[in-house]
């Protein structure tokens, strides 16, 4: 662990081996485009310039540290050369920040304002290139904005290992393109290149022109797509920017999902299924309790359910593996003795979905199977001869597969035809309407926060279970 000097201050390098890593770890910001902590070093953007005392200016991302090295991050030669480098990078950049979805979180925009800030001196017209090149169903590429940092190319080679992207031609004709006839559709992690792109060259089709990023705020959450339980940020409109004339549903809609960096679970990546979490939650919600298909108040439905539970001789509960740890504990404390409990799988892999791989995706498509099984055991659901009441919590049960003649008490989220087939149906809140924790397959517990209002008539499962356990007629 050599000791080096940055701007005259002695710093301990720790485990880091390059000047850029040491500087960032010790709070000295060095601008960079092509360098990414998870990717290999290429050193092609030439913006992370620092001055090595006695040896001139060089790039920090590829400068090894050694004992007694003395670095200046903001000396006059560094400022001059960095400014020239930014001018060069912007030579053919269209600077169409006004209509670019990256504006507001674009590193090129930030660096230009911080380190250069001048208009172009070139009299030559900017080179025109492909504007909307479809890399896949999900991603379009704007070659005019691309600064050729090759982060996306290295991502597909080193992280997702799909090897889809490559560079074509040379100089200012250079283009990022899929190699041969492949597309990014083959890559289940392709959307990560949108996040790691330092400019607005790679754009998400689903988020394009939906909102400027400064209107949005993230809510930390957990992806329920598989047992990995990646931590994610759900981006939705800030309350102070709510819309009044346009569609009011936009105010609570999840506009995009990005990874929330978490070294214990997912690192800085998530898969494409996690990006589609917004569409999963945007399905029609059930917001009225049903009694034999008839719309009733939640209070009436709870009373009817209490009667059913009291009259049942042999009751079985199919516990949701999408329930939070708090809800599962509430269920065990309130109803664990009344019911014979089995953990069910709410969600099975869809067709064409990658079932399991080495990076993140797990075969179990439920977020909290481990948390549920630690409370209710790992047995597969089975029904005794005399079963007369089945409580179904969550999705994934085919009503036709249940024993004939049993009474069904259904706690669900979505507006489905099955809701009316149950004796009693009570709508419960989805993940984005409550807070809680999931335990992933490795035992790591992650928290999620609410970002959408709970509709009237919907009740939190954690509140509902103690109410169901109370005798009929008690307040609900």
């Amino acid at each position: 662990m050599p000791g080096i000097f940055i701007n005259g201050e002695p710093v301990d390098t720790g485990e880091h081996r390059t000047v850029l890593q040491v500087a960032l770890a010790n709070g000295f910001y060095v601008p960079h485009f092509c360098w990414h902590p998870e990717l290999s070093i290429v050193g092609n953007c030439r913006v992370c310039l620092v001055e090595q005392e006695g040896r001139g200016v060089g790039i920090a991302c590829n400068m090894p540290v050694y004992e007694g090295l003395s670095i200046q991050t903001d000396s006059e030669p560094v400022r001059v050369q960095r400014k020239a480098m930014l001018e060069f990078i912007l030579l053919n950049h269209p600077v169409d920040c006004g209509i670019c979805d990256k504006a507001g979180e674009c590193t090129l925009q930030d660096y230009h304002y911080t380190y250069n800030g001048e208009t172009a001196r070139s009299h030559d017209p900017k080179l025109r290139s492909t504007k909307f090149f479809p890399l896949s169903e999900r991603i379009i590429l704007d070659n005019e904005r691309c600064i050729l940092c090759s982060r996306c190319v290295r991502f597909t080679r080193e992280i997702s290992k799909s090897n889809v992207l490559g560079m074509e031609q040379r100089g200012d004709s250079m283009l990022v393109r899929p190699v041969e006839d492949r597309t990014l559709d083959d890559d289940p992690y392709s959307d990560n290149v949108i996040d790691i792109c330092p400019v607005g060259a790679l754009l998400s089709c689903s988020f394009q022109y939906q909102a400027r990023v400064w209107y949005l705020e993230p809510t930390p959450s957990v992806c329920p797509g598989c047992a990995r339980g990646c931590t994610v940020n759900l981006w939705h409109r800030k309350p102070e920017w709510r819309l009044n004339a346009l569609d009011r549903r936009e105010n609570t809609r999840i506009l995009r999902v990005t990874p929330l960096e978490n070294p214990r679970v997912n690192g800085p990546w998530i898969c494409n299924k996690g990006r589609d979490l917004g569409a999963l939650i945007d399905r029609p919600r059930a917001d009225r309790a049903l009694l034999k298909g008839r719309r009733v108040s939640t209070k009436e439905a709870i009373d009817a359910a209490r009667e059913l539970i009291l009259e049942a001789k042999s009751a079985v509960a199919l516990v949701s593996s999408w329930g939070s740890n708090e809800e599962l504990r509430a269920f065990r404390n309130a109803l664990g003795d009344t019911f014979t409990c089995f953990v069910k799988s709410d969600s099975e892999p869809a067709e064409n979905e990658v079932v399991e791989d080495d990076l993140l995706i797990r075969a179990d498509k439920n977020p909290n199977t481990r948390g549920a099984q630690s409370l209710f055991g790992t047995d597969a659901p089975k029904f005794a001869e005399d079963t007369d009441l089945i409580l179904i919590w969550g999705e994934g049960v085919d009503f036709g597969s249940l024993p004939r003649g049993v009474t069904v008490l259904f706690l669900g989220y979505w507006l489905l035809p099955e809701n009316g087939h149950a004796e009693v149906f009570i709508p419960i809140s989805v993940q984005t309407e409550r807070r809680g924790h999931y335990t992933n397959f490795e035992g790591v517990v992650s928290a999620f926060e609410p970002c959408q209002p709970r509709p009237d008539g919907v009740i939190d499962a954690e509140t509902l279970f103690p109410l169901l356990a109370a005798p009929p007629g008690s307040p609900a």
Binding site: G98, I99, R128, S129, T130, K131, F132, Q208, Y209, Q210, R212, W214, Y215, E240, W241, L243, N244, A245, L246, D247
Partner: protein
């Protein structure tokens, strides 16, 4: 500076502890002997209002200037300043589409947050792929500061001298003006903007 507040006890018989904290105004009427007859004062007042009415009527009937009454909103007042910041207009390209690229800078800078823009994507026009599908301004909250005009990088929004037609029966949607309404302004010639020739073909 507010008028000094004196405390005065009122209704001493019924509510001995109630203190009247109402503000005292400088022109609290003090009726003299003559005024307390009322009838003469009423006639004097009628003669003032009647005189103004007849004078306005005469000027209006003879078409002379100086009538105090303007028939708002049918009649546009003549005395707006030449650079009055009135109603917003969206400027147009020669083909009639709005100049606006839906960058939301006007909506972001707006201190009253009255501008709402829904952006659309037009892949067939690489020069202007982003356009406003809807553009709404809430005139019930607009403060006519003109920041939107200054923020616009495309000279797409301006404010004209005339004021918007504000008297409507309801605030929503009556006082929201949409894209169609704002695009009504169609000058034959726009000296402020020499339009570039229409681009031929795409990139």
């Amino acid at each position: 500076m507010s008028a000094p507040q004196r405390e005065r006890r009122v209704g001493a018989g019924n509510r001995p502890n109630v203190v009247d904290r109402r503000r005292k105004y400088w022109n609290e009427p003090k009726l003299g002997w003559w005024e307390s007859f009322y009838l003469f004062e009423v006639l004097r007042g009628l003669s003032i209002t009647g005189g103004v009415f007849l004078r306005n009527m005469k000027r209006w009937m003879t078409g002379k200037k100086g009538a105090l009454t303007a028939y708002y909103p049918e009649e546009i007042r003549a005395d707006y300043a030449a650079h009055n910041r009135g109603k917003h207009v969206l400027t147009q390209r020669p083909d009639g589409r709005p100049q606006c690229v839906a960058c939301n800078l006007c909506a972001t800078v707006c201190p009253a947050r009255v501008i709402e823009i829904q952006a659309g994507f037009d892949p067939d026009d690489p020069a202007h792929p982003k356009y406003p599908e809807r553009f709404e301004i809430d005139y019930s909250r607009c403060i006519f500061c003109g920041f939107c005009v200054e923020a616009c990088p495309e000279d797409a929004i301006r404010m004209v001298r005339q004021v918007p037609g504000l008297p409507v029966p309801d605030r929503h949607p009556g006082m929201w003006l949409g894209k169609e309404e704002l695009l009504n302004w169609q000058p034959a010639r726009d000296p402020a903007k020499p339009y570039p020739p229409k681009p031929k073909g795409g990139a």
